[in-house]
Each structure stands twice: as structure tokens, then as C-alpha cells.
Symmetry: C2
Subunit: 419 residues, 2 copies
């Protein structure tokens, strides 16, 4: 756009923004929360047991014990993570907790006689990425090293160079499918290079593979995710893999079951560490999930219900972006085929301004910088949109505000640069 | 008993033991697990929600969020812990997890700007006590300092002298009611002295008050527990108190709700620390518990059902001890009015032998030493009996074996000492 066009955009956007602020909305696009309608799909969970509380091995799920979870759920976790059930643990309601516990244990204790990561440990953080991943590292005193995300996953050239140069780098975060927030899935090549990465790195290096969106497709014909397990088996690096998932965005976000998988030595070492802080997970809730999702096919059928609810919201986001920002040069965005987010790259230097403008009009966005380590987006350009929770009409209303704020801040910034 | 009498006891016991080993039992008195019949009393939990998932504030328990738990359960926890609901957190299924997380956070981070305990921290462990308490400290590299248990709780003369002499002592464990394993409840005086203990100790000193058996009475007229909260409020030491409880031995051992309470600064600091490892507890399960236990009276009525199931088992244990060991001088034991355990002090030097003998006859006992820090009972004399899980007839059968093993090992040891 030339300057005249930008002036017109700015004037129109300012007028629209004043109007929007006069009757502000109260909408929230901040977090990847399921909508109530998605949660309703799992309402059978309550009362599903019908007085039968034994798992398939005959153990009473109501009592203490069974720290690795019930066999049915370990098998389900194995199907979700593409790992053998014997190497899968079914835990409590939060994979974030398992990730924290794992990183903490790796940092301070190590697994199976291996040295802990120790003081000065660093982790690779593909950006844009998930703020809660980065926060675990930061809270535990681990240095966060950003590396770029590509269209096929983490930039493996950057990752390989980094770990070869610095043995204090002990981990890499990765959301392999429908990455938070770009929606990218890892390619076969990236998966193979991730499986081989520990061989180039210092001792204890671990791939933190958070498969949060394993069955969260927005299309009916999703591409299969390459198998990290198979690749790591070939490389002999299974003990350097830590796989995570949960049913939080399948059944109930607050009342699901989390999964962990790794090679035998790391798995046993982590289980031993956990034995000091728990006697067993909530196996009753695991049994409920086994009844609701007796097979991977049953789970996939359930997720098709979610897709029917979510796809229109993502369509509305993309339509608003196309119509309001297409061919303006003021934004670029991803078109995810699954997951919970759309990532938008704005005119550099405007992400914070857009969040502030949207807030004035009553639309809450994830804070600028949240997708980067330490909350610092050096270009101030990336924002994450999370359309799952509000009803469709609210998503549309919020997106109208968002698009206008991007036009306003973007045109203003471009004009400033030209002066 | 004179030597002749001891010889007779030994001969009879050896014969009985040979007979018992010929047809060994397969019984387990090791852990304080509720019996299936107790768990049955809470079976209404599954299906209790009837499609209503909102807490009293209108929040959807199925979704993310609410890290402090739902208000109904925070109130119930407050009633159980005798603390204001605003200072109570309702968590996941394990108070052991909350204790580990709390001790870990105190050790490494501190709360509300206070210094962490740091390297070289030590904790006071009343003995005999709970092995999992001691294991938390040991795993985290905290030095365990044993102090005696008295008939009124931890030996406060010893505790006060220890903390005054060594500011590296940062905590004391305490099971205030029906202590594991002696069954002792703390007196008014001990409670007051515990509340004042932080004033004599180094910075960050915390009373770890694990009220695991708050409503687990074996009599119909239980003595009320003195209020630690009120005492600490008077002393101005609320932030140095950490109170824990759970419904594990009220509803379902593996599927209950855990509670934590402390003063405002410590409470907020701990909640902040937890925010890095979880988004919220399983609030659906909390809501189930709110429906099952809408009031403290409802909870107490429920616990009366447990009492009816447990009291006969404890009676059987005490009857067997009385009849088999009364006036022999070979054992002393506690007569608990609640909780899950009977603690037996044997002839010094025979606890390990009794565990081995009982195992030969097919009766599994908690390992000797488990009641002491590092598993080391210097006198080798204390064993913990846990009669809750097996059916009554099995408790009787196991106790017959136990009593005979105590007679055998005790008489043998006494005779050895006289030679």
C-alpha cells in the first residue's frame, strides 16, 4: 500500500475503533479452553462406571496403589502417543504437571544412575511456542534459548548446531502436531533428526515431545504424524525421549488423564522419583475414561464431534483475517489443520499496541510476547488467537475488533516508518 | 518370666510356628488401606452430579482453571482442618503430593519473598512416625533428626531445644490426631508449643501438620483436637504453619481430594509456585465430593459407617495382643481411639526377626525400621500393624501368627540375653 492508501486505512480504522470502544465487548480469545459444548460431549463420564470399579487386571481402582495407572489407560495413552503401553504411564489430570515433574527430576536427580542436568542447564525453545513450557524452564532456573519454528517443525539446523556447540543444552521443547501456536506439524525428516539429536548433544539431553493435539484434527483427512518412538528406536535414543499427552482437550479440560512415555531406563527412573510424591493417580477417573474411550476409534469418533464444533470457529477466524487483512501486507497468519490456535505475525513493533487497542474495545488477547521465552518477542510482532471457547457469534465479533486493531496499528506503524 | 517359663513359651511357639508354616497364609497387614466395604460407602460418587457441573460460584468444573479448588471443597477442607476457607486450597487426589510440593518449594524457593530453606536444611521427625513423611525429606536431601513421640504428641522439650540450638532445622513433622503409628493425639499444651515453636527457630521454620485422621474416630465420643490455627493466630505464626488433610480415607483412597492451609503469605507463595506446574485440580471430582459431603455433619455420618467397619478389626488386634502377649513382658502396644494403626514395641532386637518369621507363615508386615528416619530403628523394636484392609477373619488369623512370632522371637532373645 502506498502512503495515501495507508492514510485511508488508518482513518477508517480509527473511526471504527472509536465506535467499538463506545460499546465495548467482553470477549476473551486468550486461552485454548474447550467450549462448554465440547465438554458436554463427555458428560457420560459421570456415572459411567455403574458400580463396577475393577480394572482389567482386577485391581480396585478406588483404593491406593497402581502408580503407573490402570492398564486400559496405559494402552490408550500408548495409542495416542504411538508408544508401547508398557512404556506409558497414565497419571493425574495434567500433563503440565508431568512435564514439570519430569524436567525437575532430570535437572536435579537424573534417571537410572545418569547424572542430573545440574546447574547451568539450558533448553531450546522453538518460537513462537507455548508460554507454559517456557515458564517451567524459567521457574526452575534453566536458561531458555530460542530457535526458530519452520513450516515443518523446529529449525533442526539451528538445533543441531546449538547442541553441538554447547553441551549444557539439555532439552528441546516440541509440540509435534498442530504446534502451539503456529499449527505446524513436524515432518518425517524433522522427526528423524529429533530422534538423532541426543547423539550430537551432551549427556542427559532429552526431547520433550508434548503431543497435546494428537487427535485434534480440523479436517476429515488428517496427515498421520511421523512416529518419534519408531525413529528413536532406530537411533537407540528412546531413553532420551519424553513423550507427553493428555485427554484434557478430549474429555474434560480439568478432569482428564495425562500420559507420559519414555525408554525403559528413564521411565523407571521417573517412576521411582514420582513414588516419593504420590501413591497413585486417580485410577477411578482413569477407569471412567477407559469406558468412554474403549478404543482409539472410539476416541476418534468423539473427536469428530469436537471437530464439528471447532471447525466453524476456525473458519470464522480465517475468513475475518482474509477479508480484513488479505493483501494488505499488514499481517501473515497460519492456516492450521488442527489444534487450538491461529498464529498471526503483524507489522513488527505493533503486537503490544494491538493487544492494548483490542482491550480498549473489550477483546482480551494473549499478551504480546507470550509465545517467546521470558515473554520477550524481539520483533513485537506475533500474536496467538484462541477461538475455541467463545460461541461462534462471539468469535466473529471479536475478530472484527481484532482485524480493525491490526489495520489501525499496522497502518500507523508503516506511516511512521516512512516519515 | 523366669527362664523355665521362657523355655516353655519358646517351645510352644516354635511348634506353633512350624504348624503355621506348613500351611502358610497369604495375608497383608502392611499399609493403611481402607477395605472395599469402606470404599463401597462412597459409591454414590460416580453419577452423583446428574448433569450439573457448575460450582456454587457458577464456574464450570469441567474446564481449566480454579487453581485453589472450588469454594464448596475449600469450605469442607476448612472444616476438617479447622482453618478459614479463604486460606484453604483443595487440590488433587493426594495430600502426599501437596506435602512434597510444599517441602520442595520451601526448600528451593521460599514463600512471599522469604529465603528458601536452602542447602543443609534439617527436619525434626517424631519417632515412631510415618515412613512417607521421612522419605520426602530424605529424597530432597534434607537431614532427618529423630525426636521422641510422647503420649501427648512430639516431645516438645526435645523439639524446642533442637530448634534453639540449630537454625538449620526448618520443619517438624506432626500427625496431630491418631498419629501414624502410635495413635496419639496432641494435647492442648503440645499444640500451643507447636504454634510457638517457629519463634524459637531459624527463619522459614514450618510446622508440617498432617491431619490425616481428622474425622477417623474409633469411638463414638472422640475428644476434640486442639486448634492449631487458633493457637498460631494468637502467636502470630500462621505463615509458619502448613496444614494438610485429604478425603482419601473418607471417600476413595485413590480418588479423593487433598487439602492445604496456611497463613496468607505462605499460602499465596505456595499457590504461585504451583501455578508453574498445573492449571487447576480436578474440580469435577471436587464437586462430586461436595455433593457427597455437603456439610461436616454429613461427613461425620459417613465416617460413622467406617467406624462400624473398622472398630471390630481393631478390637480383634487388641484382643489378640492382650490374650497372647498380656503380662508376658514381651510386648507393649498402643490402644488407639482412631486412625489406622496399632504400634507395638517388642523385646529390643526382635522386630526384624518377627517380620521374617511372620513372612515365613505368610503374613506380611510393614518392614521393621519403617517407622524411623532412614528406616533405622536403633532398638529394632517397633512394628506397625495396619488391620483396616483385610476382612475381620483374616485380621484374626494374621494376628494369631503375629502374636506367636512375637512370643517366639521375644522368648528366644530373652533367653539369649540371660546366657
Amino acid at each position: 500500500m502506498n502512503s495515501d492508501q495507508l492514510e485511508t486505512v488508518l482513518k477508517d480504522a480509527e473511526a471504527a475503533h472509536r465506535a467499538a470502544c463506545a460499546t465495548p465487548l467482553a470477549l476473551d480469545l486468550t486461552r485454548g479452553k474447550p467450549a462448554a459444548s465440547q465438554l458436554d460431549a463427555a458428560n457420560a463420564l459421570d456415572g459411567i462406571l455403574g458400580g463396577q470399579f475393577l480394572d482389567q487386571d482386577g485391581n480396585d481402582t478406588r483404593n491406593y496403589g497402581g502408580p503407573l495407572g490402570i492398564p486400559e489407560l496405559r494402552a490408550l495413552g500408548g495409542a495416542v502417543l504411538d508408544a508401547p503401553a508398557a512404556q506409558v504411564m497414565a497419571g493425574g489430570n495434567s500433563s503440565l504437571t508431568l512435564m514439570y515433574q519430569f524436567v525437575d527430576a532430570a535437572l536435579r536427580f537424573g534417571f537410572g544412575g545418569q547424572s542430573p542436568w545440574g546447574e547451568g542447564a539450558k533448553m531450546l525453545c522453538p518460537v513462537p511456542g507455548y508460554d507454559r513450557h517456557f515458564a517451567i524452564g524459567e521457574h526452575l532456573g534453566i536458561e531458555l534459548i530460542p530457535i526458530p519454528m519452520t513450516e515443518a517443525g523446529p529449525d533442526m539446523d539451528a538445533a543441531e548446531a546449538a547442541v553441538a556447540a554447547d553441551p549444557a543444552i539439555k532439552a528441546i521443547w516440541c509440540v509435534p502436531k498442530y504446534s502451539n501456536p503456529t499449527g505446524v506439524s513436524v515432518s518425517e525428516t524433522v522427526t528423524a533428526r529429533l530422534a538423532a539429536l541426543p547423539k550430537r548433544a551432551g549427556p542427559g539431553f532429552t526431547v520433550l515431545w508434548d503431543n497435546a493435539y494428537a487427535v485434534h484434527d480440523l479436517t476429515e483427512t488428517p496427515a498421520p504424524l511421523p512416529s518419534l518412538w519408531a525413529a528413536a528406536e532406530r537411533e537407540g535414543t528412546l531413553d532420551a525421549m519424553a513423550l507427553f499427552a493428555s485427554t484434557s482437550k478430549m474429555s474434560w479440560a480439568g478432569g482428564g488423564v495425562a500420559f507420559f512415555a519414555s525408554g525403559p531406563q528413564t521411565f523407571a527412573g521417573f517412576a521411582k522419583h514420582l513414588s516419593f510424591q504420590m501413591i497413585g493417580p486417580d485410577k477411578v477417573n482413569q477407569l471412567r475414561h477407559a469406558r468412554l474411550f474403549p478404543t482409539l476409534d472410539a476416541l476418534k469418533a468423539h473427536m469428530a464431534e469436537h471437530r464439528a464444533l471447532l471447525a466453524p470457529k476456525f473458519d470464522a477466524v480465517l475468513k475475518a483475517l482474509d477479508e480484513g487483512l488479505g493483501n494488505t501486507g499488514l499481517a501473515h497468519w497460519t492456516v492450521p489443520e488442527g489444534g487450538y490456535f491461529v498464529s498471526v505475525d503483524l507489522v513488527p513493533g505493533t503486537a503490544k499496541a494491538v493487544v492494548e487497542l483490542a482491550a480498549e474495545a473489550g477483546v482480551k488477547l494473549t499478551p504480546a510476547g507470550a509465545t517467546h521465552p521470558y515473554g520477550q518477542d524481539p520483533q513485537d510482532q506475533t500474536l496467538r488467537l484462541a477461538p475455541s471457547f467463545p460461541p461462534l457469534a462471539d468469535v466473529e465479533a471479536a475478530m472484527a475488533v481484532f482485524v480493525n486493531c491490526v489495520r489501525l496499528a499496522g497502518a500507523r506503524q508503516r506511516l511512521k516508518e516512512r516519515r
